[in-house]
């Protein structure tokens, strides 16, 4: 087995931009089968490898295609060209608490969310105490989650996701949840996570966070790979690019 956790091989993803879209049956029949569309390549010909145990950052300006690429990594979108190989079990965390049912209790939602993220009932049961402990929800665990404060909601969601313990975790800026103390706690959890040989891929806008957490970074610019490699080098280049664009 190679020591790459993820191999991204010449991945491209296009979206159709509809000028006139046949969203209703009437439009489809009136205009015939053709709807007028233009292709927009959100990600073009991107290749890189993520080594095992790395914390890998994806950076770039708004609209650079990093979220699209992340969604491809999370298997939500499928690349039109190229391929992504994951060596190991992957889980993604693009939004915390997605799939929570507001009327169900925290406990029921932990099991539901755990299985959405790919855990078996047994696995959730064995980690249940840890999950509750980490989230700090405490005695509210048997209350319906709609009564939770937004902080409790995201903390519980995050806690479930981090306890899935996949080989590869794909994360989208979710570190920005909870208060300062919880942020610190979750960062520690990430460090612990990568130390045990697992891989994290994350998208973030905060360069400070990238420098602090990532050891490898890929910089995307208008859908293309601008640079990839050591975190400090690439973020410096990126910072220079931002300064140049800003002035």
């Amino acid at each position: 087995m190679s020591d790459s956790a993820v191999i991204v091989d010449r991945v491209s993803k296009k979206f159709r931009m509809y000028k006139e879209r046949n969203q209703s049956l009437k439009a489809a029949i009136m205009r015939g089968k053709k709807s007028i569309a233009e292709d927009f390549w959100a990600v073009q010909d991107v290749s890189f490898e993520v080594p095992r145990g790395a914390t890998f950052g994806l950076i770039g300006r708004n609209g650079s295609g990093k979220s699209t690429l992340l969604k491809c990594l999370a298997r939500i979108l499928h690349p039109d060209r190229g391929s992504i190989t994951m060596n190991g079990k992957a889980a993604s965390l693009l939004e915390v608490g997605s799939g929570f049912h507001p009327e169900l209790s925290g406990r029921e939602n932990v099991f539901l969310n755990g299985s959405i993220l790919g855990l078996s009932k047994k696995e959730v049961a064995s980690r249940f105490d840890e999950i509750v402990e980490f989230s700090g929800v405490g005695k509210f665990i048997d209350q319906p989650v709609k009564n939770y404060s937004s902080g409790m909601y995201v903390r519980l969601g995050f806690s479930v996701a981090i306890h899935v313990q996949p080989d590869i975790l794909v994360v989208d800026e979710v570190l920005a949840v909870g208060d300062g103390a919880f942020k610190k706690k979750s960062q520690n959890k990430f460090v612990e996570f990568t130390k045990s040989g697992r891989t994290v891929i994350l998208v973030t806008h905060s360069l400070a966070q990238v420098r602090e957490m990532c050891n490898q970074v890929a910089w995307l610019d208008q859908g293309r790979l601008a640079a990839v490699g050591d975190a400090d080098e690439v973020t410096q280049k990126y910072q220079a690019h931002l300064d140049a664009a800003g002035s």
Partner: protein
């Protein structure tokens, strides 16, 4: 094949999604799951008054059960029909209404329509349980037919979810689908011998041409309703041709729905 494997591997998710539907639906209602029984009972009363007392629909006596009660006869056909429409309506909107989940997490999307079929099946099983009890009290013997009943529930579930899966994909492209289907289902119900006996159609056909009955019986739900009545109301084995039609419809429609859904699944997140 790989997809089937993935579906099976994540069957616990299907169980949990089903649980979410079942226990989330009647939270914070005083009557809880009883609500799922109230709806068919009210329908039963309305149809009985209108079609038994006013229009004087007279279904044949149950043979060999000897039952002769319009409300019970009605329910033996109406409950399967209600299940069918709930699965088609619920399954067809399951993708659009879970757009948030689909855009944020990967899991085999087929679990969404399938969980509708299962969770509705839980309600349906309770309804049929109450009906079976009533049938027994009034002198029927549905109990020995339980294995056959379960088999036919599975067949109807396959037929309904196959149709729901096809329509769910279509609904992502054209949101008209859900409104259009609601309309079609209403007409479909009156084209199926649920509130009136098929003997009325046969009488009409004898007068105007026998082709009418042949066309009429192409309706898959006609066969299903017939078999459910055989099992529950008449307490006898269904006719061979009816049974084969049901198996055929269930297999073909579920197979088609499965294929169509699986082919289109990958693009759902960007289409929503």
């Amino acid at each position: 094949m790989a997809y089937l494997k993935e579906l099976l591997a994540s069957r616990e998710l299907l169980a949990n999604l089903t649980m979410r539907e079942v226990s989330g639906k009647y939270r914070r209602t005083v009557l809880g799951q009883l609500w799922s029984l109230i709806n068919p009972i009210v329908l039963m009363l309305v149809y009985t008054v209108v079609f038994s007392f006013i229009f004087r629909a007279r279904p044949a006596e149950g043979d060999p059960s000897g039952l002769n009660l319009y409300p019970l006869w009605l329910m033996c056909g109406l409950l399967p029909w209600l299940y069918f429409t709930r699965v088609v309506n619920g399954g067809l909107t399951s993708i659009v209404s879970n757009a948030n989940l689909i855009k944020k997490v990967y899991f085999p999307r087929m679990h969404l329509p399938l969980s509708v079929a299962l969770s509705t099946g839980v309600t349906w099983a309770m309804e049929l349980g109450v009906l079976a009890l009533a049938l027994t009290i009034f002198g029927g013997m549905p109990l020995p037919f339980l294995p056959l009943l379960i088999l036919w529930m599975v067949l109807l579930a396959l037929f309904a979810s196959g149709l729901a899966m096809m329509l769910a994909i279509l609904n992502v492209h054209f949101r008209d689908t859900q409104h259009f289907v609601a309309l079609i289902l209403q007409m479909w119900m009156y084209l199926t011998p649920i509130i009136y006996p098929i003997s009325l159609v046969r009488e009409g056909a004898e007068q105007y041409g026998m082709w009418i009955i042949d066309v009429y019986r192409l309706n898959p739900m006609e066969r299903f309703v017939e078999v459910f009545r055989n099992i529950l109301y008449d307490n006898r084995l269904p006719a061979w041709d009816d049974a084969l039609w049901c198996v055929g419809w269930a297999g073909v429609i579920f197979g088609l729905g499965y294929m169509i859904f699986q082919r289109n699944e990958k693009r759902l997140a960007e289409l929503l």
